[in-house]
């Protein structure tokens, strides 16, 4: 897989233009990123630091010296006629990322990480034979992370991609937004008949801007290639696009001309020398990464491995969980974790202060677990605080035994058969009685108390 990640610098990689997404076309451009004659690129220091952090976090060997090269091709999104990239001497090589798929650990090799500039954006006209070019994205710093052909299933590919994204977010060097193109991936996929050692001809898949599309495109491509091979036909080495509407990959005909990029060192840029002490100080200041946090969550909060995995696989989720547990020490970490595992999206959306006060209301018995789930949805939808919602909806748990007892006795009287069944030892009927009481009280009865009352009245 080849993964491209936008680095979260304020300015572009070789000029001072802003990098923000969504500005009006061609309002973040200058002589340098428009490739005007006589302009010269100067490397953004922070972009190098961000790239180095990723190299360290993925166990890469950083090359003491690396070189920028020109990748030459002619396309309207590339004003200079070449893209500044790295070729023979990339920033870093020989790393790996450990992933887990259905409980099995796998180590995916990382061939190289190099720095490059992004190209512009083309908007093709629907009605006329023209394309509009916006150069705002031209020169936004990218790292390209190239993996070894180590992945064997679409699931592994998705886990690898999620793992990379998670590290980028932990390092705070990329926003990981696949829809806006801050994180993009190309996948090369080939089949290998059983017993054969070398991989077959491969197709390169592009345009997969979500994890779901990556999985769907790879699954489709496996089916397509398998059918071709089974029919005794050959796989054409080509680039294919994922067509979201048609749910299939389609050949990019017309672009099949062999790549001939004629790379050479860019004479406008001097080589990059990464001194050992620079690298060491970056290494020392790396934030806690997902793998370390997973271990700490188990040790510090006594969480099962599964819980720690789910929590740490998303930085915001892990941050919110940790803040909730630290700010509300009376809540048990496992209880808090259950809520995050139950509804990870909602729990990552609301603030730790809100989750803490919501869970405290459940712990105190003010509202039931089911009511709290309802409140959580409302908090996410309206942004109001839990107390307000509880008041507005009149949600309180009836924990007054005498009020519930009257209703419970009525239910028993109305259902003599079930009552007899219970007394004859069919304790499963208890669920029916509690359910009836919940219905009558519109979910406001304290379920534990309801259970106790029925046991007493039926005993």
């Amino acid at each position: 897989m080849e993964v491209h990640a936008h680095l979260l610098t304020a300015s572009k990689i070789f000029c001072g233009c802003a990098t923000g997404f969504g500005a009006p076309p061609n309002t973040q451009v200058c002589e340098v990123c428009l490739g005007m004659p006589g302009s010269l690129p100067v490397l953004n220091h922070k972009a190098v630091e961000f790239a180095l952090k990723m190299a360290l976090a993925t166990n890469c060997r950083v090359n003491p010296e690396s070189v920028f090269a020109r990748k030459n091709y002619f396309y309207p999104d590339l004003p200079k006629g070449y893209q500044i990239s790295q070729y023979e001497l990339p920033l870093a090589e020989h790393g790996f990322l450990d992933i887990k798929v259905e409980g099995h650990a796998r180590r995916i090799g990382i061939t190289r990480i190099h720095m490059e500039e992004d190209a512009g954006k083309l908007i093709h006209s629907e009605s006329r034979p023209v394309s509009c070019v916006d150069f705002n994205r031209t020169g936004v710093p990218l790292i390209e992370i190239v993996s070894e052909p180590d992945m064997r299933t679409p699931e592994e590919a998705v886990e690898y991609l999620k793992g990379l994204r998670n590290i980028l977010l932990y390092l705070e060097i990329c926003d990981g937004n696949m829809e806006e193109g801050s994180l993009r991936c190309d996948a090369n996929i080939s089949l290998r008949p059983v017993g054969q050692t070398e991989l077959g001809a491969r197709a390169e898949l592009k345009n997969m801007n979500s994890f779901r599309f990556v999985k769907a495109a790879l699954e489709y491509e496996i089916k397509r290639q398998r059918a071709l091979l089974a029919a005794g036909r050959e796989i054409v080495q080509e680039t294919r696009l994922w067509d979201t509407a048609a749910n299939q990959t389609v050949s990019m005909r017309g672009k099949e001309e062999a790549h001939d990029y004629r790379y050479f060192p860019d004479p406008d840029l001097v080589p990059l020398r990464i001194e050992a002490d620079w690298l060491e100080s970056l290494r020392k200041n790396l934030p806690e990464l997902p793998a370390a946090r997973l271990n700490r969550f188990q040790a510090e909060f006594g969480l099962p491995e599964y819980d720690a995995e789910v929590l740490t696989s998303d930085k915001t989720r892990a941050d919110n969980f940790e803040a909730t547990v630290k700010d509300f020490p009376h809540l048990s970490p496992k209880q808090v974790s259950n809520w995050f595992l139950d509804d990870p999206t909602s729990m990552s959306t609301i603030t730790p202060a809100t989750s803490g006060s919501l869970l405290t209301l459940v712990e105190k018995g003010t509202i039931s677990r089911n009511q709290a789930k309802e409140v959580l949805k409302e908090v996410v939808a309206t942004g109001k605080d839990p107390e307000t919602i509880i008041k507005e909806k009149g949600l309180t748990q009836i924990s007054d035994a005498s009020a519930l007892e009257v209703a419970a006795q009525e239910i028993i009287n109305a259902n003599p058969k079930e009552a007899a069944d219970y007394r004859a030892g069919k304790t499963k009927v208890m669920g029916f009685f509690v359910g009836q009481l919940m219905k009558q009280t519109r979910g406001q009865a304290n379920p534990q108390l309801a259970n106790e009352i029925f046991q007493r009245l039926l005993g």
């Binding site: 002589e31 953004n44 972009a47 070189v67 309207p76 394309s131 509009c132 001939d260 060192p265």
Partner: protein, 94 residues
Amino acid sequence: MALTRDEVLHVANLARLSLAPEEIELFTRQLNDILAYVSKLQELDTAGVEPLAHVIPVFNVFREDAVREGLDRDAALSNAPAREEGAFVVPRII
């Protein structure tokens, strides 16, 4: 190693240039002249010389990550063959 006519056509195609028949002949000859001239460098014995990416011994020229005002959009588009809603307009490629 002389450059063939096919190689000239290949390079022209990569640069999206269409050459007239007499230009193909002319450029093939001229490019070969240039290559012959530069190939004098091959006479140097470079065994034991490390490959060099840059001729001056300077490394790590950086700028700080600070945003600088770029070009005004009208100025940026002033060389565009055609423009529309702030974008450069080019013949459709896909």
